[in-house]
Symmetry: D3
Subunit: 287 residues, 6 copies
């Protein structure tokens, strides 16, 4: 593709980006990244490029990542057999240890490394560092699945003040020294809310919220908080989309200006959201 | 041109600019702009866009502007007849007043206004503000044509620290309250030197230094300080190009890393210089 | 006069100024200077001395200057014939250009230069720098006569924080890149208000508000905002004094503690106002 | 033990610690902790208490931890068969992934959590965050075993400035995105040197350097850098003690004032080192 | 006593102090010291050690001292005969001079010196420095006995910000240049209140508030503000204890969290208060 | 005298002071005041006014005061009989206590109070606060007469940074807790030197250095360090003037730009020194 553009064209494109760059300068943007959206290696490279570019033009980017298929993979490698209670997976001590290793050890440092390679200055922490995410058990039968009790946002602010891109693994901790597995979307919503972020990008591997989930042409490009409630009632938002939309609404309630359920399968979808007023995916706003 | 690029292509171009953006982040770049290079309105708009874009991505840009045809125009409007001594124009008190009005009143504020419209935060000063440029008479017979005695760079640093794009009119002052007309290229070289700028862009309306001044294909893309001396000796650098090349050499001596005699007739030539390692015009470096 | 005082007397005078100096230390004082008050060269020198002295003893002084006879003079030199609509002068594009040159080019830099010569550290800007004064057309038929839409006081505060005496030309700008001629008294009132200045000195070439405008002994030394309304009703404040008194009242409403319509024909009238509780001219206060 | 001391005795002990507390106030102390020294759970608790206490009394403590038996354990759990080249273990890509998970995921966060529980404010990073430890392959046949190329100490200083106890996993990174396993003692020596630390505590599970390694009564309590060279020559320092002593010497060369090979099997050995002039283990100093 | 404890025991005691140290880190604690509590030299040394230890572990300690027997002693040495009005001692000009000398000259500097010797960084001021304590005559017949009109806490905050232990002599001043003798307990209550101190320690030479003042076993360890009112009514708090308890209540009303009437005859009573939840003396709290 | 000057004359005098005010703005000036120069009450008021005026116009003034006749007075009141060794007065423990009381208690606070009344913000400390002046015995037979070992200037800088006029009593301290009486002139020279002060004013009750000590018309208005040596040799500088001139020379050696032995019997002599280039007394400069 490099050869396609002349330098003059490149300059033209850059200057056309000017008003958008200006708009986000100095603002806080949280990117939730993880799960299936993270599998394609080329897309991962592009998400990292987008984040470093935002950071270079003065946006304060926070990358929140949840787990992914690597946790299940490691569990099966270690011969962990899944236990279930009422159909929900039990996270025992050994499992939360694996989650901790994969999230804070494997994925966090790999993302930090990618950002550094693209030219960013990143520091990777978890919800256990500086007691960022205080949690408690959601349901005793499920073990170490955490419900967020409090978000102490100071550690992220300290890293932003020092000029880093904070990369956050969604683990929680309590006063007794336990670690908890925290749902990535929920953690991102709480963190973006506590930071009063301008935007929260929820990177997914789907097109966004669809009226007919088999027809991408029925994408709902924008919804308000009250639309969201109605769409849930009508059954348009259903299944796995319900908790995701709930997180978006929660983030808006906590002070985020705009949440985007973003189709991460599209190249440079974050930058594209900044370049046009349409954007890829479904935007959730207040009202 | 807007319709030519898809959003995906735009994103692609932006991310390809990443390493260059990173390189200039936090650096000081001085742009000398004026004279004939300033006449074409569309090019002027593009230079302003380039400057604001640089500013937004964290480059500390200083815009130094000299006069232009508008001074002569105003003089003739006011019925001022040019006087000459040994073929050089005499700048009497009334003339330096006109220079002051055109530079600090007309051009400076117009440039500030353009930068603000493009989204920048600019503040326009002259060499008289904060005693930035202290000068004395070069030759008594020529009147208020100033020779730079000292550059007190503090006012520009103060504006940079407060986040402005300083726009500087090249007037000088002395302790007796006289104003002086200062050569724009010289002032830019002194200012860039005092700031230990990364780059000094000398915007012109020519292709650069040519071996054969009638053949643009003989452009010398890069020369060292010692090349410059040799080329002057050989007569390749001659006529009006001599003082310009001298200014470049002076700037390098004073601590600027790279000076570019830039072909301002090319759209977005400043950005293009940042996007490729070739660049338009002639680059002067130490050595 | 130098020889009149012994050094002991000088010391005595200085120490007697102590409580007054103490009172204004760290406070913001705006001086509106322009028009006829600016003609007498010796008085101009004294006003500059007063401002630098205030600055040296820790007062944060802002000098706002309007135009003067020099604008009309330049217009007639350039052969501009005044046009009128309903008896009001039309300010076309060419005229506002002349205003810009005279205010921001000629007068602003000359005042900056004088302050520097007296030992001050000054920086001259206009209402176009940092979008200080945003304006729009007052009346389309009058052309570029501006009505203030917003005052963004940050540029002045930035200069004060960096220790400069800001010198402000009363030009306005809009988002389309137009320049406007702004009434000096109004601009000073808005700026002083936005700064919550302690004092606003309106330098004039009259004695102040007089009960009988031909009898200086009928000077009204002090009036409240409600006095002002009553005096306008009674016709005591009339003619050209009406907009001036309106500006004073506006400044008080916007948060200035005290406005003084000051007789600028008296030597060092600003310092004298600081040395006695009477002062020269008419003081306007709240209530 | 709680019941043994009266409150008066406790106060007495505290005030006797005063001169020592004063001495270390504001100083940087690096604690290298890991391997066998980390196995005993009660001792681990005590080391954490010591670190938090130092932090509370104003010492800037940095905790550097290497791996331990947990890496081997995980490798065997995952069915990784050790490969050897010339008797040295090969660290292939998969192995360095495991190291990363155990160090940065499991151990780092567990240590952070313990410090937080004891009342400290800790943040856990690795040599990959902020490019703290740049490394390259030591020997291609050994795979991802890293040799330190450069230590960029800024990330640790940033965390100290923000009031955290930095907890550092000894991983390295290169510009191609590879992770490396770095020897813990070496990393600690480099980090302590770059910080010009007052003390570097090398926590071990041995008594220190012994003249006769089977007789604890032959402990060498203190040695200079030149003693160390001589003792190596004499064969007193031999086997696994050689690289450890080399690290101590390296740290001294890089600017650390005092390195202590500390017997971590003794309760609160770090605090005890601060309370007496003898201390447990072998101290290495310059000279 | 030194020989009684092993180093291991010392370490144990220190780590047991950890949660208490953590609790007071960064908090403001005011110690009122003076009068009879100051006579015993060994106890004085211990109080100083306690203060320096608190300061070293990050507590912001302010030492307020009143006069003591040394004032009376100096008065009798100088042959001053006490005068009385209605049974109260008259403080004439000469007497307040003596108070000033003893408090600000003798005692203040001696305390500063002791704190420095113990390793602290102390600066001694009086209520006259920076107009800390503005006062007026309580009763004209009593002369220069001051009633506090205002406390300007800035000087103490300035010293705390610069890292000093402020040592404050309880003198007052008025706008006419008079010095006043201020009751030490009252001054301490006002200062602790203005600082919103965590704790105010009132060092005394009694056991605390006793139900039966001849029976130390009847100590009231803790009382609320409303308890205090009731105990005064019941006559349990009587005589010289009334003004002291009133000061404690005043301090609580002004924002201090906890006031302790402390038995200064016990070694290291301040540190002991920090080590146990009981403490020596009577604690007064809100409610 | 108030009625003598018109307001216009006052303004004239103030503006004539402008260049002098400008020169001293931001500079450090040390005033040594004490002894006989302090006796006249009206002159004392004027010295205080001068200091506050300097402080208000941005000079950083430090007031160093020695003792005066009040020490001897108090000693005789307390029935202390002077003891002598080789003709020099012995300062026993009791005497140094009296010195401490008079200097740090009586005089220091009285000067602070006067400065505050004149509108200044003052804080009074001694050489014992923050270990400002470390001293040792000069001669064991003389007792607590101190020789300066070290000046730790930080406490004075801390007060200047916080905007206070530091008022310093010339006491010294050692590590054993002893107080010392320090010669005022010496202390002032050391302090001014450590501060690299612009000026050191040595206030005296004589005309300055006279060629013929009975003839004021023989005043030496200015001398260099080498002049001073010569004048001592020649016997012109003799008796009590020797140590004073030695102090001046010492101050110059330590980095003070200009020392003035000033005739404190003249009203506002400090301000007068600032207003003219002659000044009252003898100026000592380098060379």
């Amino acid at each position: 593709m490099d050869n396609v553009f002349s330098n003059a064209q490149r300059a033209e494109v850059l200057t056309q980006a000017l008003p958008y760059i200006r708009k986000y300068n100095g603002k806080i943007v949280v990117v939730k990244y993880g799960g299936n959206a993270m599998i394609n290696e080329q897309l991962k490279q592009q998400v990292m490029e987008d984040i470093v570019l935002l950071w270079l033009i003065g946006v304060k980017v926070v990358l929140v990542h949840g787990g992914g298929p690597e946790i299940s993979e490691m569990m099966s490698k270690l011969g962990k057999k899944p236990e279930f209670v009422d159909g929900l997976r039990v996270t025992d001590k050994e499992t939360v240890d694996i989650v901790q290793m994969i999230l804070a050890g494997k994925m966090n440092k790999t993302l930090v490394n990618l950002l550094e390679m693209k030219g960013g200055k990143a520091m990777g922490i978890s919800g256990m560092d500086g007691r960022l995410i205080e949690a408690k058990m959601k349901d005793e039968r499920l073990g170490y699945v955490g419900k967020i009790v409090d978000v102490n946002i100071r550690p992220i602010q300290d890293l932003l003040e020092k000029g880093y891109i904070p990369v956050v693994s969604t683990l929680g901790c309590d006063r007794e020294g336990n670690a908890y597995n925290i749902n990535g979307d929920t953690a991102a919503a709480y963190i973006a809310g506590a930071l009063e972020a301008e935007n929260l990008f929820m990177m997914t591997d789907i097109a966004g919220v669809l009226r007919d989930k088999d027809d991408p042409s029925t994408l709902i490009p924008k919804m308000t908080v009250s639309d969201a409630a109605r769409l849930k009632e009508e059954g348009v938002v259903s299944g796995g989309m319900i908790p995701k939309v709930d997180c978006c609404v929660e983030a808006i309630h906590k002070g985020v200006k705009k949440v985007i359920i973003m189709d991460g399968r599209i190249s440079h979808s974050i930058l594209m959201e900044l370049l046009t007023d349409e954007g890829a995916g479904t935007m959730v706003v207040g009202g």
